[in-house]
């Protein structure tokens, strides 16, 4: 597997053989098709991080996210959400860079 990006809490990989992606969440590794990775990216991008600093909007400062058509359920705190945003932004950046050098 090829390492794509390692953030503070999480790591993303690409597997050429299965043509899939993996994210290591620390306690668990999840396999993603590209479509599922796009869906996760959309969900994480839509999280309003400023609401975590407003007790009326997000009292506990947590996000509950389901992944891969509800196959997995994760609860992330504020720092993990910030880290996840960075992981996905950078992972897609690396993938774009790979597309540029591959052709």
């Amino acid at each position: 597997m090829n390492l794509l990006y390692k953030s503070y809490y999480f790591t993303s990989y690409q597997c050429d053989r299965s043509r899939c992606f993996y994210i290591d969440f620390g306690h668990k590794q999840v396999k993603f098709s590209f479509c599922q990775l796009l869906a996760m990216r959309q969900k994480v991008q839509r999280i309003d991080i400023s609401s975590h600093f407003d007790k009326d909007l997000n009292y506990n400062g947590i996000e509950v996210i389901t992944l891969c058509n509800r196959e997995h359920l994760f609860v992330f705190d504020t720092l993990q959400v910030i880290d996840l945003k960075e992981l996905l932004r950078s992972t897609f950046g690396i993938l774009e860079l790979n597309s540029l050098v591959s052709h």
């Binding site: 043509r19 590209f34 796009l38």
Partner: protein, 170 residues
């Protein structure tokens, strides 16, 4: 490392994001025109109402065209949420001015995506969007012609009725 992304998706991921935003904008336009149709219906302006019903359907068609394009090319299109639709207008002229402003915003948004396509060399999406560039020019012109009628005929009583009678959807 294999370029799996390119194997899975035929369009640039950032362009896909912008196209998804465009889906929301087209859906928002469709809803705005429906609200305008309702206002016209309630104020006895039947031709204008019919015009906006058709205009709303056309915006939805635009939305679906982009929606299908994203999915056909391996991306993921997201069904949009629509909110904040104004139903209060003071006159038919205000409605057509608002509609023209709405079309201009849509044109700007399309141009922005075309510009992004060129930057990232996504020629497929750029080619797809050329139809929208042409369509927006026609839509804007349609509203300009209607607003010219207000300039020529005024907005008092019978003039308003004459204008309504002359409003037809192309």
């Amino acid at each position: 490392m294999k370029d799996i992304v390119r194997q899975k998706i035929g369009i640039n991921v950032d362009v896909m994001d912008l196209l998804n935003e465009q889906i929301s904008k087209e859906a928002h336009s469709a809803a705005i025109y429906l609200a305008m149709a309702s206002w016209c219906d309630h104020n006895g302006l039947t031709n204008s109402a019919e015009f906006f019903y058709k205009q709303s359907a056309e915006e939805r068609e635009h939305m679906l065209r982009i929606f299908k394009f994203i999915n056909d090319n391996g991306g993921t299109a997201y069904s949009p949420e629509v909110s904040n639709i104004n139903h209060e207008y003071s006159s038919l002229q205000e409605i057509f001015e608002t509609a023209l402003d709405q079309e201009i915003e849509i044109s700007k948004s399309i141009h922005n995506i075309v510009s992004r396509c060129r930057k990232v060399q996504d020629f497929g999406s750029e080619n797809f969007l050329q139809w929208f560039v042409q369509e927006q020019m026609e839509e804007e012109n349609q509203f300009r012609r209607i607003l010219e009628m207000f300039d020529l005929m005024g907005t008092d009583g019978i003039a308003l009725k004459f204008i309504d009678e002359r409003i037809k959807h192309d």
